[in-house]
């Protein structure tokens, strides 16, 4: 079953042999990730799937992550579906996404009930005011780090600003902004015969 290929030394983690991974194992591994990934799922995914389990290698991981980011849906659940599919087809995807979602969903179910009962308490209101402000800072930091990684061209910032203005100032619906600005940006990045390397 497992053929041993000589791998180039540059790769950090070699491609795992196509091992038989049971549905149960997939579910459990994603359940652990779903229950422990405080503050963002991606690093936990890599640590678990690439480093610990070696179900996928680094190259696959990066590729799957870029697919996850281009598609609608959260990185966490898209990654679960992609990895689950690779390991065990449709059932694998279902097991992975269930494991990924259950702990957080249970927690927020309880938190929602608690907040409904005690949300008016002055302590809770004060606490939540701080939490919300911190969350704004967190989203801004995501914007900054994503921009550094994903925006290669000066014009990308124009598209980004246009999207913000369309939604916040012109009050376009999100799909309208996504389609209009998205198509313009895709056309701007259209395939060219001679790729200009200067933008890099």
């Amino acid at each position: 079953m497992s053929e041993v290929h000589p791998q180039p030394a540059t790769r950090v983690v070699d491609a795992a042999p196509k091992a038989d991974v049971s549905i149960w194992e997939i579910f459990l591994e994603f359940l652990i990730i779903g229950a422990t990934s405080f503050g963002g799922v991606v690093p936990y995914l890599r640590g678990s799937l690439v480093t610990k389990r070696q179900w996928i290698d680094d190259k696959e991981f990066v590729e799957m992550l870029s697919i996850s980011q281009s598609l609608p849906g959260l990185n966490a659940t898209n990654m679960a579906v992609l990895v689950g599919e690779k390991l065990s087809g449709f059932i694998g995807s279902v097991a992975a996404i269930l494991g990924m979602c259950l702990p957080g969903a249970a927690l927020m179910y309880a938190a929602g009930i608690f907040y409904h009962l005690h949300g008016d308490h002055p302590w809770t209101t004060a606490l939540l005011k701080g939490v919300a402000a911190a969350a704004v800072g967190l989203i801004l930091s995501t914007v900054v780090s994503l921009s550094k990684k994903a925006l290669s061209h000066k014009f990308d910032f124009v598209f980004m600003a246009a999207t913000v203005l369309a939604v916040n100032r012109l009050h376009w619906s999100v799909p309208r902004a996504l389609i209009v600005v998205g198509i313009l940006a895709i056309l701007f990045h259209r395939p060219r015969r001679e790729q200009k390397e200067s933008a890099l």
């Binding site: 990730i33 405080f38 959260l74 992609l82 930091s141 900054v144 925006l151 913000v164």
Partner: protein
């Protein structure tokens, strides 16, 4: 009970807007859940979203709380499936044929073109939320503090949100 079909429609629709992250759907989520269906208030939406940042797993699990408020346990369940089902199915289908598109030159164009738009949507969501969450100098200071800390140090964001909770509890209770 009658809220279930509305929950399915709203969250299945919102699910398709989460390009680049859950925050991309936030402006639309505000309109639909607060203004149209009145399942919760804007400040409750902000609170739930923020608390959700401290939970492990996908960072939009606060939708479960909205589902629970609007339709009890069934509401929560239905919301969860509606919000994650459509995009999961899409990811599954794409996983099957994405490899074959590797040679298709537009694949790269789509990825490169969607990146700035999805970041823009994220930022737009952030501004929508900031309108409700940043109410004065103190809250602005917390937000900027968290931003700078995250850009400067490798620190778990959930811890900073927790720190925000503690600072909030001590500085805003007196008012």
């Amino acid at each position: 009970m009658s809220q279930l079909p509305a929950l399915v429609r709203v969250f299945a629709y919102l699910s398709l807007l989460t390009v680049g992250g859950g925050m991309a759907a936030f402006p639309e989520m505000k309109i639909l859940t607060v203004e149209v269906h009145k399942w919760l208030t804007f400040s409750q939406l902000i609170h739930l979203y923020s608390v959700g940042q401290m939970a492990p797993g996908p960072n939009m699990m606060m939708i479960v709380s909205i589902g629970e408020w609007a339709g009890g346990f069934l509401g929560a369940l239905v919301t969860l499936v509606a919000f994650f089902g459509p995009t999961a199915l899409l990811a599954f289908v794409v996983a099957r044929f994405w490899k074959r598109l590797e040679k298709w030159p537009w694949r790269n164009s789509i990825q490169q073109g969607l990146a700035p738009v999805s970041i823009g949507l994220l930022l737009a969501g952030c501004f929508t939320m900031a309108k409700g969450a940043i109410t004065g100098l103190e809250t602005a200071a917390i937000a900027v503090g968290v931003l700078l800390m995250l850009l400067q140090y490798k620190i778990n964001p959930a811890l900073l949100v927790l720190a925000g909770a503690i600072i909030g509890a001590f500085s805003f209770t007196s008012k």
